[in-house]
Structures are given as C-alpha cells and as structure tokens.
Amino acid sequence: MNFKKYSKITITILLAISIVIFVLGVLAWSENVYTGIIYFIVAAIMFLGCIYLYPRIAKIEDMQEVGNRSVQSNWIVLSVGIAGMALFLAPFFRIESMAIPYIAFVLCAVSVILSAFNIYSAVKKVKARMVV
C-alpha cells in the first residue's frame, strides 16, 4: 500500500474517533456543561487536524511531502489526544454515567497510539521530517 493511501485510511479512522468524541460530548452536555464543552473542543481540534490533511495531500505525488504533511496533522491529533487523556477523567468533568468519560479516554488513547505510529511510519517509510 502506498503511503498516501495509508495516510488517508488512518486519518479517516482518527476522523471517526473525533466524531464519536463529539457525540459523547453531546451526551455529557446535559449532565455537566463543562464536560460537554471540553469534549467538543478536543473533538473539534482533532477533526480539523484530520480533515485538513485530505486537500493538502490530494494533488501531491512526492511521498516525502505527503509524509511531511501527514506528520503535521498527526502531531495535532497526538497532542490533543494526550490532553484529552489528562482531562477527561478529572474530577471537574465528572458525570453520573461513568461509561462516557472512560470511552472518551480510551478513544483518546487509541488516537494517541495511532497518530504516534503514523508519525513514526512517515519518518521511517518516506523520510518525512518530524519538525516541519
């Protein structure tokens, strides 16, 4: 599989994760407005970081450049994922339905692992730069 296709598939998975976190935010909103807000913010940053990649790599044939742009998007997902993991289980954002924060936490953890692997792959496979 070429790197461009790989990037599109993995970023689509991350995009799906951000949408699920957004839905969880909607569910949490009625119990704790602040929980809803923090979920929305994390989901929005993740979503924009991912969706931004599609047009940026659409017409590019140089795989190294595809890798560079993929690295940028994945850094955004990685960092906001770590922030989500640190904050979603905080007491200030506690809600009655405990499943929601734990699901959101796990989704953030998955996005962190996947985006970290994507950065690693971009650097290893197509010699992308980690600092772009």
Binding site: S79, A86, L87, V131
Partner: protein
C-alpha cells in the same frame, strides 16, 4: 531550487552545531507553524499563568482584559521587530549583536543577559520552582521532594535543549495544545466557582492596583523573551513568519492565557495556579501543567544561554548546554535540599542582570531599522554576512547607549514601565549618537575582526 543546490551555495561551516555561529541555511528552515509552535512553547509556561493569576488578584475581569491586551500589544511590537531581524539575517540574537556592539560586545552582553542570567540563573530558579510545585502537589512522595524533583525536572529540561531546535519543537508540539486546554479548564473552573460569567464580572479583586501597574507587570514578565525572538525566527523559511508567529501568539494566546488564569484566581482567591487547578478538580492535568509548563520554558533558557556562550566558548553547542544545565541543576538541588532555603537574593541578582536587556533590545532595533536605513543598506541585506566579512571589535556607541539607557530608564526614571523606558532610551540614544557622529565623521567602531567560515 533543490536542497542540494542550496547546500552547495551555503559558504559556512556549522562547526558547533545547531547553527549557533552561522546563519541557518535555507534547506534547514522551517514552516510558519513550526516557528509559531516553538514560540507558543515558550509562552506556554507557568510564569504566564502566574502573571495572569496576579492580574486576577488585582483587577476586575474587564480591567484585567484591558491590562492584558495593552501589555501584550507592547510586547507584540517589540518582539515583532526583533523577530524580523532573525528572519532576515538567519543569525541568532547574539550574532546579530555583533553589528551594533562589535564582537566583544556581543560576547559580553550575550553572556550576561542570556548565558549567565537565562542559561544558568533562571534555569536554576525554574528547576527549583518546579521542585516546589511538584512537592506542593504530592507532599508525601519521596520523588516529589523539592531537591529530588528539581534534579529529575532539570535533567528532563536539559534533554530537549541538548537536541536543539528540533527538541524544542517536538516538545512544543506536544505541550502547546495541552496548555491551551488546561488554561480553558482554569477559566471554566473560574466561571463555575464565580457563579457563572455574570457573577465573575461582578467580583472585586482582593488587592486592587492601578492599570499602569498591571501593564508594567505584563510587559516586564515577558520583555526578555520579546528581545531574543531572533533565536527562533532565524529558522523561519520566510522572514515574515517569525514576526507573524510572535505577534499572533502574543496578541491572541498570551491574552487568552492571562485571562484564563485571572478568571481562575479572581473566582477562587487562591494564591497559586497549580493549587487552584488541583483544588478545582483538574486532576492529573494540574500535574502535567507543572511539568510541561516549566519544561517548555526552561529548555529555551538553556538553549538561549548556550547560543550566547558559544560566541566565545568555541566548542559543540550541546557540550555547553550540558555544562550550564548541570550547574543549574546543582544550584536548584542544593537550594531544594537545604530546608528553609530561599532563592530571593539570587533572583534579585538575576533581575538586575536582566535590566540590561531592554536597552540592548532598543539598540538592536535602532541599529537595524534606523541606522542601517540611514546608511542606505537594503532591508533584506541588513545583518547579512559571509565568511571573510569584517566587523568591529567594539562599537562604543552601542555600549554607551546600553549603559545610559539602563541607568536612566531602569533606575533614575521612577514612573512608567522601567523595561520600556530603558528600551526606548537605548533606541533614542543610539539613533541620535550613531547618526550624528557618523555625519560628523567620528568613528564609532573600534578595531576590526574578520569572520571565518565557522562564524568565529
């Protein structure tokens, strides 16, 4: 133009690493987002949140917003001007200093304000403060003893500085979004504790102060960072990127962070941000804020310090980084282990050293924008150099302007913003003296030094 061609055209040799003595070559330059993130990494620090928390204890929410916006606008202008110098020349602040101060001047002033003050002094203070914060959050853990935490915290901070610009960028990529979120969490806790936004607007501060005092605090808090922006902007692909990155982060994100902390403190009345966040229910986020906040700032202290020491200590830059890091960690640990010890006298000494910096910034800005314009040097050719170029050993007008600017602006004038007074005086004195003496045919440069391919 391909990378290979660009490499061939670059006549310098990076003998000490991280382009500390030579201009950053085109193929090593980075995008706007990288530059922006590194600047944000420096900004994303506990000091800014503390600055915001001070505003929260002194002003109503509306007053705090005015103070934050005006103070940040002043910093945006200063840092924007110095960032453009790095973007154009590709040199660090301390190499740029060779032009208005001469080679010896760049070594002396750079070592005082960035090497000793930032690289060793403030690095040690921040490592020690890190130990205190970690100890406050986890008072019973052995690894959170002030001295122990200062050691492992200081060593962590050293790692990214040793890697160089890439290390600073990696850490900033990770830390900046988190810091923005935790600031938002602080604001949310403030709104919740303050009885909603309307309630927060009606709250009165515990220790009211005048608006000018607040602006002084905001400008004074970060003016040093505003003067050494070239250390990062030299890596920008386009000269304007450094200026834009700096201005955006200051005008939008510094105001956001100051206000987030101010809202938290205004509502809770607590004395420290980390404690207020922890008490407010931010959980592990408060701990991460303590680690990442100090780390992203303190690695920059080391980085800038090593760049300045490299102007006269001609060895690999990472050797210097490790050396100054070990000295700083040792100082922080020694103070941390000594029960009841205070860093106040040390911090006073560092603050005195830092008083020279604004006048240096004023002279740099005057030389680059006014004196070079007067000498008819095209804008994009200013502070450009190549091996074999000749620079003054000492530019006595630069030295005199810094001395007078610091003395009059920092000590004699009691009103206004001391740092801004010194900067403006340095700017005016240098502009007037350099142009008048030049017109009168008086030499302002003493001695001559030829720069070799290593930038020495």
């Amino acid at each position: 133009m391909s990378n290979e061609t660009q490499k061939e055209e670059w006549p310098w040799k990076d003998a000490y690493g991280d382009y500390s003595m030579v201009p950053v070559p085109q193929h090593e330059k980075r995008s706007f987002s990288s530059i922006f993130y590194v600047y944000m990494g420096v900004l994303a620090c506990i000091a800014v949140l503390w600055g915001g928390s001070t505003l929260g204890l002194q002003f109503t929410l509306k007053e705090a917003l005015v103070v934050a916006v005006v103070g940040s606008a002043i910093l945006a202008v200063i840092g924007g001007l110095t960032a453009a110098m790095g973007g154009i020349s590709g040199f660090s602040t301390y190499i740029n200093m060779r032009f208005p101060f001469g080679v010896v001047g760049s070594q002396v002033f750079g070592s005082i304000v960035a090497g000793i003050a930032c690289g060793i002094g403030w690095f040690a203070v921040q490592a020690w403060l890190f130990g205190i914060i970690v100890h406050t959050l986890f008072p019973n853990a052995a690894w959170a003893n002030v001295g122990v935490a200062a050691i492992w915290g200081g060593l962590l901070m050293m790692v990214t500085a040793v890697i160089g610009f890439r290390g600073l960028a990696w850490l900033s990529y990770l830390a900046v979004p988190f810091f923005m979120l935790i600031t938002g969490v602080g604001a949310m806790i403030g709104i919740a504790e303050g009885g909603g936004f309307a309630g927060l607007l009606s709250l009165q501060p515990k220790e009211p102060a005048s608006i000018s005092v607040g602006i002084t605090q905001v400008v004074g808090m970060y003016i040093a960072g505003g003067i050494i922006t070239a250390d990062i902007s030299r890596y920008a692909k386009r000269a304007i990127s450094g200026t834009l990155g700096w201005v955006i982060q200051i005008i939008i994100f510094q105001v956001y962070m100051l206000m987030g902390a101010a809202m938290l403190m205004l509502a809770t009345g607590a004395s420290d941000v980390a404690g207020a966040l922890l008490a407010g229910g931010a959980g592990i986020g408060a701990f991460m804020m303590a680690i990442l906040g100090q780390w992203t700032t303190n690695d920059n202290n080391l980085y800038n310090g090593a760049l300045s020491f490299n102007t006269w200590l001609h060895t690999k830059k990472w050797h210097i980084t490790i050396g100054e890091g070990i000295i700083g960690v040792a100082i922080a640990a020694w103070v941390g282990f000594a029960a009841g010890a205070s860093m106040d006298p040390f911090m006073t000494f560092l603050t005195y050293l830092g008083k020279i910096l604004p006048a240096i910034g004023g002279v740099l800005i005057a030389d680059f924008y006014i004196y070079r314009w007067y000498k008819k040097v095209p804008f994009k050719q200013r502070y450009k150099g190549k091996p074999g170029m000749k620079v003054a050993l000492c530019n006595w007008v630069g030295w005199l302007s810094v001395g007078l600017g610091t003395w009059i602006g920092g000590w004699l004038i009691k009103g206004g913003i001391a740092a801004l007074n010194a900067l403006v005086l340095g700017f005016v004195i240098y502009t007037v003296l350099a142009i008048v003496l030049d017109a009168a045919g008086v030499k302002i440069a003493v001695g001559e030094h030829t720069i070799n391919e290593k930038g020495v």
